[in-house]
Amino acid sequence: MAKIDGMTHSSLIGRAAVTPRSVSPRVRRRSTAAVAVRATAVVETQVDEGTAEALATAALQQLGQTDSVQPKPASRRRTQQRYGRLGIYGFLLLSALFFAIPLYVMIITSMKGMPEIRLGQLFSLPGDPTFAAWIKAWSQACTGVTCEGIQAGFFNSIKITLPSVALSILIGSINGYALSFWRFRGANLLFGILVFGAFVPYQVVIYPMIIGFREVGLYGTLTSIILVHTMFGMPIMTLLFRNYFASLPSELFKAARIDGAGFWQIFLQIMLPLAVPIIIVAVILQTTNIWNDYLLGLIFAGSDNLPMTVQLNNIVTTTYGVREYNVNMAATMLTAAVPLAVYLLSGKYFVRGIASGAVKG
């Protein structure tokens, strides 16, 4: 990472353009890791997302790729490589375990009854597996004064996530398209400002935003939280789409202009259909990001629309009598289910998009 320290801002962006791997879900929070080109950075960020499996396949694919480009090595080098490869496997296995073990503990705990949990045998399988804790977490656990479980939070999160994801991707793709094809005056400056936005820690702007929303009477509404997510998602979405569109041949755009298509026709009929791989990546990034958000939801959503993460926190921290670990675990699993499902269903596309699809059509 020391290598990139001396670089200018714009060269960082340039770097990001050629290494789509660098576009990570954590860009906002871990900007340096995100832009780093090293494999370690990839490992780090992806492990953060708790998907050791996808990580392993990604890394292995990469391993395979670099392997196949190299010329036939001498036997000495081959043994060296083998050791190197063992090291990588070992490291990957450790990282995978690091995340798999807590997951395992969570799942088995959520399926135990409280007496069994009190025995303190963290790793033992449940003697009498039951889903009672899951049902309770979903529909009966107390999230403050009401005791209707986490389901309300689930639907709130859906209400927040769907429009936010759609809106931020729509705006990001239009921005990216306009910035990479319609080279208007000041486009580079605008892009610079937008990217700068991606690196501003959002805690800095929360207070002014609260005031702004209060002034227009939107504070604490569903609209405000959707707008907030859209705004915070815009820089990274713009970057993602701009780099993707910049990798398409510019002659395609020229041909469409000669054919008489205008701004929207080119966008909707030519460019958007070509952007499907990167749209999938964007959907995954944004869904995970927005679903996992806690702070913004807590601040902007208002008490009627608190997202699942906030409700989860309430369940875990509210105590009437005993602390029900199995319910807490089940509620956590339920909350994590959506990003996990998105990841499992589309992780293949994600890895593919990040590894190659982001640069080729």
């Binding site: 041949p249 002659e251 395609l252 020229k254 041909a255 469409a256 202009r257 000669i258 054919d259 008489g260 298509a261 026709q265 009929q269 030519i270 259909p273 070509l274 059509g361």
Partner: protein
């Protein structure tokens, strides 16, 4: 140009006229005060080395680049600030630029749909273009399922359906292999004869230029060096750049002095060893001569005569062969003339070997004489 009637030209003088065109990229002038007039129905080839601004000029004509200064007229209409679609042009790109997600048919009809042409008319024009380019069996395929040559034909077809007056081609054949290139070259020529549109064609393949063009414009660093018929450019290049650029194998250049002896012009080669004096009595000078000056004498390898026949020419010398390059149809041999490297083309039958000695000669009237300093033709 031969097939153009003078009457047609008088009615409608120029299909495309470019006046004092300047174009800057971030302060770097890529095209400078460029003037170019193209007749209706003419096939004009822009030829030049890489980076000289050919594509840039084409993009300016197409309206894909905002020009810095000057004027562009198409069919006597000032289109300098018009949108590409309003310029009555169509363009074919080097990388084909087909829309990957659309079938061939959709690719062909896209422009017409955008323009709001009715269904039957679209159908009619697409099938006509497809027929002309032998694309009918491929209409339902996606570009990914086509070969390079087929893709390029679709790209040409996409220009064809629009029924415009001016076609712009930006190196349309350079991604194809040699055989396909020859085939499509003929097809483009046939197309031009059928349609009789104005065509502006960028290439850096001089064979393409010489075979297709009515006129060739040779460009260097954003300036048109010479605009003329292929014959004239080949026989009477206006400067040393054009002379060296056109012709393969390249022209020989002999360094020397131009001198007047008994009011007759002579070329005296710079040489410490064997001298070479070339009488330029019959050379078509562009201007009157005054005194002596340093010049370069350009002689095309294919204008050199070998053997006994050479003795009849004003310049004739016995030389030793140094290197022989067989080129299939004939052979290129390298020797030294007045101590300077000199190549000539001979029959393969002659079976030359390095070390052979033979007579060579050339006619100075067919040579080209350039000022050594400015490079201009004298």
């Amino acid at each position: 140009m031969t097939h153009l009637s003078t009457a047609a030209r008088a009615d409608n003088p120029y299909s495309v006229a470019i006046r004092d065109l300047d174009l800057d990229f971030d302060g770097v002038r890529v095209l400078r005060s460029l003037n170019l007039n193209i007749h209706k129905g003419e096939f004009l080839v822009l030829l030049g080395s890489s980076g000289c601004g050919k594509s840039t000029l084409l993009n300016c004509i197409a309206g894909l680049l905002d020009i810095t200064d000057g004027q562009i007229l198409i069919n006597d209409r000032d289109v300098t600030w018009e949108e590409p679609k309003d310029r009555d042009i169509a363009m074919v790109f080097q990388s084909y630029a087909l829309y990957p997600q659309m079938t061939v048919e959709k690719n062909l009809s896209f422009a017409l749909k955008v323009a709001g042409v009715n269904k039957e008319e679209i159908q009619r024009r697409v099938s006509k273009a497809a027929e002309m380019l032998h694309l009918t069996p491929l209409l339902q395929r996606k570009p990914a399922a086509l070969s390079g040559g087929q893709r390029q034909r679709v790209a040409i077809g996409r220009a064809l359906v629009r029924d415009v007056d001016v076609f712009l081609f930006d190196e349309p054949l350079s991604n194809l292999d040699a055989k396909l290139r020859t085939e499509l070259r003929v097809e483009i020529k046939r197309l031009h004869q059928q349609l009789n549109n104005t065509m502006i064609y960028v290439t850096h393949d001089q064979i393409e230029a010489l075979t297709l063009a009515d006129r060739i414009a040779i460009m260097k660093e954003g300036v048109i060096q010479q605009l003329d018929t292929p014959q004239t450019i080949y026989n009477k290049p206006v400067n040393r750049f054009v002379a060296g650029f056109i012709g393969s194998p390249g022209m020989n250049f002999l360094q020397g002095q131009l001198q007047l002896q008994d009011s007759q012009p002579w070329f005296i080669a710079d040489s410490a060893l064997a001298g070479l004096s070339v009488p330029l009595t019959h050379y078509p000078f562009c201007a009157d001569l005054t005194g002596s000056k340093a010049v370069e004498l350009g002689v095309r390898p294919e204008h050199v005569v070998v053997g006994e026949a050479a003795t009849a020419l004003p310049v004739c010398q016995e030389v030793g062969v140094e290197i022989v390059e067989p080129m299939g149809s004939d052979t290129l041999a390298w020797t030294r003339l007045a101590g300077q490297a000199f190549s000539f083309r001979t029959d393969t039958e002659l079976n030359l070997k390095p070390g052979d000695r033979l007579l060579i000669g050339f006619d100075p009237a067919r040579a080209s004489c350039f000022d050594a300093r400015s490079g201009e033709r004298i």
